[in-house]
């Protein structure tokens, strides 16, 4: 791709971008949210038409008119939000849009055979073909998408943030598969925020910033610090600020808390003025634990004490008690995309009578504090970049003036700059005597921001340990159940 330019109205999303992928290489595309990665990939796949620039595929001019043309040319997109029909069985999902037919009818035998073959290639040959895809774990759903690209004979597979919701073991499996595809001559474009992953799996990288290519090269030749500096255009020295602080009295105490399915048993003591990290594999029950505390899911046993209040309470009560939560799923739960920024930010604490101007005014201090970039408080929150959306979700807790913050993957899928803002605010809050319970699957982040870390494994929460005693290895061991975690 050379000299690609794409503008929406007056906003230039891509300007003179060049991008080159060699056959059989894994090429990482990195950049902050809004840097233009998705737009570039949409141009590649034919979902968007470029305003200028040219593309070549195997030396032949390539100008797809729509995604179907892109697919026919051998380009497969696997987006962050998986795009498979949840109710259709596995086999039909694998061959979605390319179902073998005999006359007007679906050729079921051929369908099953081809689906099985494709699944075998991605190492999941044992998946039952007739199960609705929605019942499978997210990692298997992703493999189905990759199997689909294999079945369609894709020459370039684009993976957009493929690991953001995968557990460590599934990430390993995915990387093995990527290497296998590469060995077979398939090119992979790998989009990720996780530089460690990029370093591990990619041969070369291209950095996009503000719609321009700023650097490209071999991954082995660039350090993480260099890459981050290229992405943000400035060096981030203290990504994880952690001031020295002294924890106060406990504000949230759990005793053998059990939910309807998960968690099985969770005991912890969260104190004022500390950040307590919750580590664990995806599916270990960390999200369920937070939801049970906050009254979003039912509680089966054990006790929750918030301040002087004992027992489960609905979310409305929790807010009143000074507890607030940021959801891991920004789109489905965290924010109402169709509402304004002001509505979203103030929803948890509003007066009986209000005016839109009041709401706007209430937002202003939080915009400044978190450096939220938006045109106006009346803008729809869905129109903001991921990072700014997440800042709004965090600002909601600040506006409500909560003492206890339950943060579930607060930095998932957002750019480095926004992440830094959120870490800074977490640190400030803890220093101001608030208590933060932070769930994260990103270990450097947990080790960088938390004072203590507890590891959850298969629904059971281990004891919290000082972060100084821990490293990634120890956490991973505990998370995978390799060592006994319950004291």
């Amino acid at each position: 791709m050379t000299g690609v330019r794409k503008a929406f109205a007056a906003t230039v999303a891509l300007d003179d971008v060049s991008f080159e992928v060699a056959p059989g290489e894994v090429h990482a595309l990195v950049g902050e949210n809004g840097a233009g990665k998705s737009t570039l990939m949409k141009v590649l796949s034919g979902a968007l038409l470029p305003d200028a620039g040219a593309m070549e595929l195997d030396g032949v001019a390539y100008a797809p008119a729509d995604p179907l043309a892109g697919r026919a040319a051998g380009i497969a997109m696997i987006y962050q939000e998986l795009s498979i029909a949840p109710h259709l069985p596995v086999a039909e999902n694998v061959l979605l849009g390319a179902e073998p037919r005999r006359g007007l009818l679906l050729d079921r035998r051929e369908l099953a055979a081809r689906a099985r073959a494709a699944l075998c290639q991605v190492g999941r040959g044992q998946l039952p073909l007739d199960l609705p895809r929605g019942r499978l774990p997210i990692a298997d759903q992703q493999l189905i998408e990759i199997a689909r690209s294999v079945a369609l004979g894709a020459r370039i597979v684009v993976l957009d943030e493929p690991t953001s919701s995968l557990a460590q073991a599934d990430v390993r499996r995915l990387f093995a598969l990527i290497r296998q595809l590469r060995a077979g001559g398939t090119s992979i474009v790998y989009i990720s925020h996780f530089l460690e992953e990029v370093r591990e799996v990619a041969d070369r990288y291209t950095v996009l910033r503000d719609g321009r290519t700023v650097a490209t090269g071999a991954t082995a030749d660039a350090s993480n610090a260099e890459l981050v500096a290229l992405m943000v255009g400035r060096a981030i020295t203290d990504l994880y600020p952690r001031s020295a602080r002294r924890p106060g009295e406990p504000v949230l105490v759990l005793d053998d808390l059990a939910g309807t399915r998960l968690p099985l048993a969770a005991s912890l003591e969260l104190r004022r003025g500390e950040v307590l990290g919750l580590a664990g594999l995806v599916g270990a029950g960390r999200t369920e634990l937070l939801r049970a505390i906050f009254g979003l899911d039912a509680v089966r046993g054990g006790s929750i004490r918030v301040g002087a209040v004992v027992g489960p309470c609905p979310p409305a009560e929790r807010w009143r008690q000074g507890v607030g939560m940021v959801s891991e799923d920004r789109k489905a739960e965290g924010l109402a995309a169709g509402l304004t920024v002001a509505d979203n930010l103030t929803l948890a604490r509003q007066a009986w009578f209000l005016s839109p101007a009041h709401l706007d005014a209430a937002c202003a201090p939080w915009f400044a504090k978190l450096q939220v970039r938006c045109r106006s408080p009346r803008q729809r929150v869905g129109a903001l970049s991921g990072g700014n959306q997440q800042k709004v979700a965090v600002a909601r807790l600040l506006h409500a003036g909560v003492d206890v913050l339950l943060l579930d993957e607060p930095t998932r899928g957002i750019d480095v700059g926004s992440r830094a803002e959120i870490y800074r605010v977490i640190d400030e809050l803890a220093c101001a005597g608030k208590a933060v319970l932070l769930v994260s699957s990103y270990l450097p982040e947990l080790l960088g921001t938390a004072d203590r870390i507890a590891v959850m494994c298969r629904g059971r929460l281990g004891p919290a340990r000082e972060v100084a005693e821990l490293d990634e290895r120890a956490i991973l061991l505990a998370a995978t159940g390799a060592v006994e975690t319950t004291a």
Binding site: A10, T11, P315, A332, E333, L335, G338, L339, A348, S355
Partner: protein, 333 residues
């Protein structure tokens, strides 16, 4: 940047003014085709009067639709309301009390709908809460309320002795404000102002939008979803009850077969007014304009001597056009 900003503000204006421009266009078209018998003051008063009933009910439906729900029972609730008012009058109740009874009957209907929609039905405690979709619940009510009205009215219109003063609600004979429009029209306006202010300037109003835009988010933010929905359906059906009082005044009798299909007219008015059936969007002013557009089409077509079937096709076209323009606006955003 300034280019994009003007495009955006243009779209926002289009969103606010879209229905009003549509009304102006339709009105001007008929004014040109028909002449003074259309644009004369008397006809304006008549059209306002013809809008009052659907308009009043549509104010309530706007709130339901903003919250992501739907109410198919409006027509049947209106019929039930007219019968209740007539029966109460015949039982010797004072007129004000009879009218209040009609509104109250509506509110009760709304509470029942709300109870099913939120799963707050007391009886099957053992089964736990089972929330039903508002489409299903109000579809059931659409049938059940019509049946109840027929049962109460013994399958006939319920005649009322004499000339109750309630009938003046829908007569263009008043003085003062009444000389501008009938009291029923002012009732519609008052309810609309109340609802519009409530949506914009109260926490409840913001919660209605939040529930409609993303119920999960609303729950996360501590909005008491069930209480909010219960209130929404109670208010909407009370509006239908008020519309029933006006319908009674218009007919001069209770009629279990009246207002057939009004539920769809009401939904059409809300949609033409710019609301989204997926929730989270809509305005009371837009709805009133939507209701008035439909009256203008009916009235204008009648004046042109066009038959009923033409009106119906034109109304269908207007609904499609309104929604089409609305989608276009959303895509541009």
């Amino acid at each position: 940047m300034s280019d994009a900003a003007t495009t955006r503000s243009r779209h926002r204006w289009l969103g606010r003014l879209g229905p009003a421009l549509g009304l102006a266009a339709v009105w001007a078209l008929f004014a040109a085709l028909v002449g003074p018998t259309f644009w004369g003051w008397e006809n304006q008063r008549l059209m306002l009067l013809q809008t009052a009933i659907v308009g009043t009910a549509a104010v309530g439906a706007t709130i339901v639709i903003i919250s992501g729900g739907i109410d198919l029972s409006v027509g049947s609730a209106i019929a039930l309301g007219t019968v209740v008012v007539a029966l109460l009058l015949n039982a010797g109740m004072p007129e004000f009390a009879a009218a209040a009874g009609g509104v109250l009957a509506g509110a009760l209907v709304g509470l029942v709908i709300g109870a099913f929609v939120t799963g707050r039905v007391v009886l099957p405690r053992l089964l736990g809460r089972i929330a039903l979709s508002p489409f299903i619940v109000t579809l059931a009510m659409w049938g059940a309320l019509r049946g109840l009205a027929k049962g109460l009215g013994d399958n006939r219109p319920v005649y009322v002795d004499g000339q109750p003063a309630l009938l003046d609600l829908m007569r263009n004979t008043g003085t003062g404000l009444g000389a501008v429009a009938a009291p029923g029209v002012w009732i519609m306006v008052a309810v609309a102002v109340l609802a519009a202010l409530g949506l914009r300037h109260t926490r409840f109003g913001r919660h209605v939008f939040a529930v409609g835009s993303n119920e999960q988010t609303a729950r996360l933010c501590g909005v008491r979803i069930e209480r909010t929905k219960l209130l929404i359906y109670a208010f909407a059906s009370a509006c239908a009850g008020l519309a029933a009082v006006l319908q009674f005044a218009y007919l001069g009798q209770g009629d279990p077969t009246t207002a057939e299909g009004y539920e769809l007219k009401v939904i059409a008015a809300v949609v033409i007014g710019g609301a989204s059936l997926t929730g989270g969007e809509g305005s009371v002013l837009g709805t009133l304009i939507g209701a008035f557009i439909m009256t203008v089409v009916d009235n204008g077509c009648t004046k042109l001597g066009l038959e009923n079937w033409v009106q119906e096709i034109v109304t269908g076209g207007i609904i499609l056009t309104a929604v089409f323009i609305d989608r276009l606006r959303h895509r541009a955003r």
